[in-house]
C-alpha cells in the first residue's frame, strides 16, 4: 500500500520523491499554480500554489509529500491569498487584456477569472517596458512578464540554448535576452524551441498567428482553468512530444 496524505479531506497517494503538487495533480486534484510546469524543476517563486500544511503555509510545488500530512488548499484563507498575489501581478505589469493576443489562452487571466478577481485593487505601476520586435518570427512583449522563469528554464534545460535570463533584483528584476545586443534577433532561438511554448502569459509570441483562433474559442473560454488542469495530469509530454500543459500552444 502506498503512502497517503490528506488534501482538503481527500486521501492522496504519492510515490517517494513526489511533491504535494505532483501527487495532487496525479490524483486528480487541482491546486492553482502559475510558475509550476510538470516538465521542469519546481521554481516555487509565484506562491500561487501555497497551501496550509499541518497549519503552516508552504508552496505545494516544492513541498515534498509525506505520509500523514494534512494539506488545506481550497479554503477561503488560501484562495484569498492567491487572489491578492494575482492582483499584485496585474498591478505590477502592463496587463491590458483587450489588446493582448494571448487573451483567452493566458494562465494569469484564467486564474483571475477562477478566483473572481474583479480588480487589481492596488495602484497600477504602469512600468515602461519597450517591446523587442527585432526577430523576424517572434515578438517579445515584456509588459506582461510575471518572472515565472519558465522560458529561462525551457531554453536552458530543454533547448540547451540559454536564450533568456532574469536580471536585476527586487522590483528591478526583469527578463533579458542573452545576446550582446540584448535583442532576440541576435540569438539562435527557433519557433520549434520549448521556450516558445511555455510562456503562461503574452510575452513570447509567434508573429502572424495571433488571432488564428478567435477570441471566444480559446482554451479558457471553453472551461475554467480549474476544470482543465486535470486533463493534463499527470502532465507529461505524449509520444509526439507535444505537451497538453503548454497553454496556448498552436
Amino acid at each position: 500500500m502506498s503512502d497517503t496524505f490528506q488534501l482538503d479531506g481527500a486521501s492522496i497517494p504519492f510515490k517517494a520523491g513526489q511533491t504535494v503538487m505532483q501527487a495532487a495533480l496525479a490524483g486528480g486534484h487541482y491546486i492553482p499554480h502559475l510558475c509550476y510546469h510538470p516538465e521542469f524543476k519546481p521554481h516555487g517563486s509565484c506562491k500561487v500554489c501555497t497551501v496550509k500544511v499541518n497549519g503552516r503555509t508552504a508552496a505545494s510545488c516544492t513541498m515534498p509529500a509525506e505520509a500523514g500530512l494534512s494539506v488545506e488548499s481550497n479554503i477561503e484563507e488560501m484562495n484569498g491569498l492567491r487572489r491578492t498575489l494575482v492582483q499584485m501581478l496585474f498591478a505590477e505589469g502592463n496587463h491590458f487584456c483587450p489588446s493582448c493576443e494571448k487573451s483567452g489562452n493566458c494562465t494569469l487571466q484564467a486564474l483571475g477569472y477562477d478566483l473572481e478577481v474583479h480588480t487589481a485593487g492596488f495602484r497600477h505601476m504602469y512600468p515602461d517596458r519597450p517591446l523587442d520586435a527585432s526577430h523576424p518570427d517572434i515578438l517579445l512583449d515584456f509588459n506582461r512578464c510575471i518572472l515565472c522563469e519558465l522560458c529561462v528554464r525551457a531554453s536552458s534545460e530543454v533547448d540547451g540554448k540559454n536564450v533568456f535570463s532574469l536580471a536585476g533584483r527586487g522590483i528591478a528584476k526583469h527578463l533579458i535576452v542573452n545576446a550582446k545586443s540584448g535583442l532576440l534577433k541576435d540569438t539562435n532561438i527557433a519557433l520549434t524551441d520549448k521556450a516558445m511554448q511555455v510562456c503562461p502569459v503574452g510575452v513570447i509570441l509567434q508573429k502572424r498567428i495571433g488571432f488564428s483562433v478567435p477570441i471566444g474559442e480559446r482554451r479558457y473560454d471553453q472551461r475554467p482553468i480549474s476544470a482543465q488542469a486535470l486533463d493534463d495530469a499527470p502532465r507529461q509530454a505524449d509520444a509526439s512530444g507535444s505537451c497538453t500543459a503548454c497553454e496556448g500552444t498552436p
Binding site: 502592463n94 487584456c97 483571475g112 497600477h124
Partner: protein
C-alpha cells in the same frame, strides 16, 4: 410596490462601449425599469447627479473634468460601480502612461506628418489632461467592479440583478472577462 432605486451612469475616459453593452440587455431593460429609474445618464440627458442608490461609471480618469464628475458621483451615490476595463484598470487610454504627456501631444498635434499648421489644442473650455490615466479606485472608493471590454449585457444584467436582490454579485465563468 417599494420605491424604485435611482441609478446614475456616465462615461469618463471611455468609449461608451459599456453603455452600449448595458443596452445589450435588450428587452430586459423593461424589467430593469420596473426596479430602477435613471438619474444623471446619457439615457436621460440629466446633467448633474441628485442622490442615488447606484452609480455606474465607465472609463478611467484622464482629465480634470473626469475628476470632478467622479467626485460628484461618489458624493451622491450610495454604491459606486466601476464598469469596464478602463474604469477598472485605466484600459486603453492608460497605455500612454509610460510616455511623457508633452511628448504625446507634440507627436499627435505637431510633428506627425501632414500636420503642417498643427497646434496643441488650448481652448479654455477643454479640460486639462492629467499626466497619467488612472482607474477609478485610485481616486475615490469604489464599491464594486465589473471587468470586461466591454462586459457583456449578460454580465451587467447578472451583476445588477444580484445587487438589486441584495446578494453579493458573482459573475462566474463565461461572464467574468477582462477582454
Amino acid at each position: 410596490m417599494s420605491k424604485k432605486l435611482r441609478v446614475a451612469t456616465t462615461s469618463l475616459a471611455g468609449c461608451f462601449g459599456c453603455h452600449m453593452s448595458l443596452l445589450d440587455i435588450d428587452e430586459r431593460l423593461l424589467a430593469l425599469l420596473e426596479l430602477v429609474e435613471f438619474d444623471r445618464s446619457p439615457i436621460t440627458d440629466i446633467k448633474h447627479c441628485s442622490p442615488c442608490d447606484i452609480g455606474l461609471i465607465e472609463g478611467g480618469i484622464c482629465n480634470a473634468e473626469n475628476v470632478h464628475v467622479l467626485h460628484e458621483f461618489r458624493k451622491n451615490c450610495k454604491i459606486l460601480i466601476a464598469i469596464g476595463s478602463c474604469a477598472v484598470t485605466g484600459g486603453l487610454p492608460a497605455q500612454r502612461n509610460h510616455l511623457d504627456l508633452g511628448a504625446c501631444l507634440t507627436e499627435v498635434y505637431l510633428t506627425e506628418p501632414g500636420l503642417a499648421h498643427g497646434h496643441i489644442p488650448n481652448d479654455p473650455e477643454l479640460p486639462l489632461p492629467l499626466d497619467k490615466v488612472h482607474p477609478l479606485h485610485e481616486v475615490v472608493k469604489i464599491d464594486y467592479f465589473i471587468p470586461g471590454c466591454p462586459p457583456s449585457g449578460d454580465a451587467i444584467w447578472k451583476f445588477l440583478t444580484d445587487l438589486i436582490a441584495g446578494k453579493t454579485p458573482v459573475l462566474g465563468h463565461g461572464l467574468i472577462k477582462y477582454d
